[in-house]
Subunit: 299 residues, 2 copies
């Protein structure tokens, strides 16, 4: 059904400010630019509508949540339709009173919602208090058929889990998008900053290699202060990887950028023929992956 | 039970020649050297006793196989006992007439065999005709308790499978050793050599990061001709990675080397507290890992 060899994708790496309307305008303007450069599938960064509010636990921030469909997905749908492209947006989803998710929405070029993915792995660490806001996803790992490619979406913390990438690839995804909000703690940056970013890039590269799949991660940039006096320096470094983990694009850490890259469906097949990892998976011995811990030294 | 913070490991990167006795002597001499430098657990490269015979399908090469215990494990056991260290050897195992495995043996400092791991993922590609020689392992993924550390062993092709590293870590391993025989095809090296080695190193680094675990991979070096007129240039690059994917050691591609590195048990705990990936695994949604393929677009 998907006959063309090449599909083009876009990522919008941006800074977020207090004004949601301004953030939405900037995102839509970025999608327009990417589409004008030929992008057929454009992905926004995680929770692009607002500053990264999870830096603190504040009940008033639940006001940012909205239903799907809702005003933000309506705006993205209009943009997708105008540009005849797929748009992947990251939404603070209000599913019911007291039930919220960190959700990615895949919108087709006709403006209809193709599907949603609810972030499965939820972090909770100093300045990343996501468990306070988001219930872990209950839809599992998915691939969405779009007119341009089979598309998987995973969100930020999911990136550290090989299981998530593998399951998304097994669903048929040709590319996995990772809307992301990851940054440095100011006091850690000098000592750990380089190794943290390097580990993050390495994990994405490994997902590409292990699965013979394209990877596109889009992260925010800019320093965002929180109400406790600290803040996070989001490290940008949005990137697109080919099917054997090589960079098609790597952004810097500080600047906003509209990224457009070409992907080749033939290269997926070629890579997997040369490195036939799917051929040899020992599915008869992977059951233990579904356990929390298997050591005989603990209960 | 394992009280010491530091454990020291050794790897022997070597060239293999036609003479098995010479290869065994060199391996034992390497273990002696590593132990003299303080190594408590020493791992040899894959099938260290012989040239990499899987370059061709030749029934006479089954003569290289031997039982476990057998003459080679006896020699390694004597060496382990002499040095009071753990030795991990890679053996072409003859289990029964017509039933052979690519097997790693973990021998304790008392000279007794602690356990074996039979290579689970078996490659079969030009010049790596392993499916001809080796039945895939039937013991699953394991961790072995030694007096110095909890030790996992995976072998070569296993390295491309995140499932193998994860399952070994879930068994309690603090370090995973990868005896390996990987090299460049001469005609591919100029175009693909760098990206191939880079992908290989990236996968090992990702296992370390995703699992907060030490990784030690030991690969052979040197060019080995085969009887068809071609050959493989084994790329060395043996390495030791700490718990967040940084190099403690990286060998070059061409030289034999005895490697000794220090690992810290405390760092495993510290890393996993800072990056608590095990906390958030979605074991309720990983069942599909045990499927061959899950796409709704195919039967």
């Amino acid at each position: 059904m998907l006959q063309d060899d090449i599909f083009k994708i876009g990522l919008i790496q941006m800074k977020c400010h207090q004004d949601s309307k301004a953030n939405l305008s900037k995102a839509i303007s970025g999608i327009d630019q990417a589409a004008n450069q030929g992008a057929q599938i454009v992905c926004l960064q995680e929770l692009f509508l607002t500053p990264y509010f999870c830096q603190v636990q504040d009940p008033s921030f639940f006001e940012h949540a909205e239903p799907i469909p809702g005003p933000t997905t309506d705006a993205l749908a209009a943009c997708a339709k105008k540009n005849s492209c797929v748009v992947i947006g990251s939404i603070f989803e209000k599913r019911a009173p007291g039930l919220y998710h960190n959700t990615a929405v895949v919108i087709g070029p006709d403006g209809n919602i193709i599907g949603i993915y609810r972030k499965m792995h939820i972090p909770d660490d100093p300045l990343f208090y996501e468990k306070y806001y988001f219930t872990p996803g209950d839809l599992g790992f998915k691939s969405f058929k779009t007119p341009f490619a089979e598309v998987g979406v995973l969100v930020c913390w999911d990136q550290w889990y090989p299981e998530a990438a593998r399951l998304t690839a097994l669903e048929g995804a040709e590319i996995i998008f990772y809307p992301t909000a990851i940054g440095w703690h100011s006091h850690e940056k000098e000592i750990y900053g380089k190794s943290q970013t390097d580990a993050w890039l390495t994990m994405h590269r490994s997902h590409s290699i292990a699965n013979g799949i394209y990877i596109a991660a889009v992260n925010r940039t800019g320093f965002e202060k929180n109400s406790m006096g600290g803040g996070l320096e989001f490290w940008g470094n949005s990137h697109v990887l080919n099917t054997y983990g090589s960079y098609l694009h790597l952004s810097d850490s500080q600047n906003e950028e509209v990224i457009v890259s070409s992907c080749s469906r033939k290269l997926i097949e070629e890579t997997r023929r040369n490195w036939p990892f799917f051929r040899d998976r020992r599915v008869d011995f992977y059951k233990g992956i579904s356990s929390r811990w298997n050591s005989k030294n603990s209960i």
